[in-house]
Symmetry: C2
């Protein structure tokens, strides 16, 4: 069968391991690579290896970084007294893209989930507490995801951190900007009403 061209199949299989890539897309991507120049293909292959070999976790905030201390932690323009706690590095990128947060981060690399067998010990919570004990921190913003696991993790951290006399806050829930009330789910809408602010 012509669709069993082994190297092409093998590459398509690799593409299928990426989140949200189905059979057809994987094959389309494999054909794209086929049309790459040999240099482009080499660049691609090297970029894949580089992600595995050149990246480490920042020793302060545990975010992925290509330096021992990440650019946020080493910046003199960031407010080191505010730490925004997130589940994963993607959340850091999302918040950085807003351009409206001047503090630092702490990446947990997951959320507490008894269902998935993730306990607090599996997360970078110990590293967070070390920072809170050694750095001058005035506020911890809990920006874990608004899911059951994220909420549970936020609750857990809040109980750990509050006794240290550090202000603990949680990002707001509500109707997303540009969204339509009609399509907002009940819980979100309830939170939006509860969290209403005076004009």
């Amino acid at each position: 069968m012509a669709d069993h061209i082994e190297p092409l199949e093998r590459l398509a299989d690799m593409f299928r391991r990426l989140d949200g890539v189905g059979k057809k897309s994987a094959m389309r991507y494999a054909f794209c690579v086929l049309n790459f120049t040999e240099n482009e293909a080499r660049e691609f292959a090297e970029a894949i290896m580089a992600v595995k070999t050149e990246l480490v976790l920042c020793k302060h905030c545990q975010n992925i970084s290509d330096t021992e201390v990440c650019s946020v932690c080493s910046s003199i323009n960031r407010n080191k007294s505010v730490i925004c706690v997130v589940e994963d590095p993607r959340a850091v990128i999302a918040i950085e893209n807003t351009g409206h947060f001047g503090g630092t981060y702490h990446v947990l690399h997951g959320a507490i989930s008894p269902m998935k067998g993730v306990s607090p010990d599996d997360l970078k919570i110990h590293e967070l507490l070390t920072r809170l004990n050694t750095e001058e921190v005035t506020e911890v913003i809990l920006a874990t995801n608004p899911t059951i696991e994220g909420e549970a993790t936020a609750m857990y951290l809040s109980r750990l951190i509050s006794p240290l006399g550090i202000k603990v806050s949680r990002i707001a829930n509500g109707v997303p900007i540009g969204g339509d009330l009609e399509y907002a789910d009940e819980v979100t809408l309830r939170r939006a009403i509860e969290g209403r602010y005076e004009l």
Copy 2:
């Protein structure tokens, strides 16, 4: 900025070169690779290089192949007297997936397009004519895409091949199975009516 982690950015840039991959998907894929084991990443990198280094064009049908003569051309179960002419290897895979074609293929690697500067000399037409002159071919099925370029290419080939006394046919146009007449475009619907068959 945390979103400028160089190796991750570089990999996302490579993913963006794939058809239909936008900025967000590219970054998502790069993060997936980050979560690969080192072995998986190496396998991925090698698969990319293999596609560029291990694949050649079958010397008969010009389809991509990992052997000098592809599996279709070398099979004793295929009817060598019928050649299905297609624009690219993806069409071969699509037709093979139907499981209803027992002939061989000829891949043009494109279609005639004055707009894109593709002339007949840029396609594997010379190789097709060589096959028609040296092999015992009774029918050529023109299965180029139902686009302006594909139709023009089919017309061009038909004029070249008909004088050789070989039957030339074109794949049918019509309403796709499972489609809804309401949503079919006018040209398709006109072709479907013109191509009606008696029951």
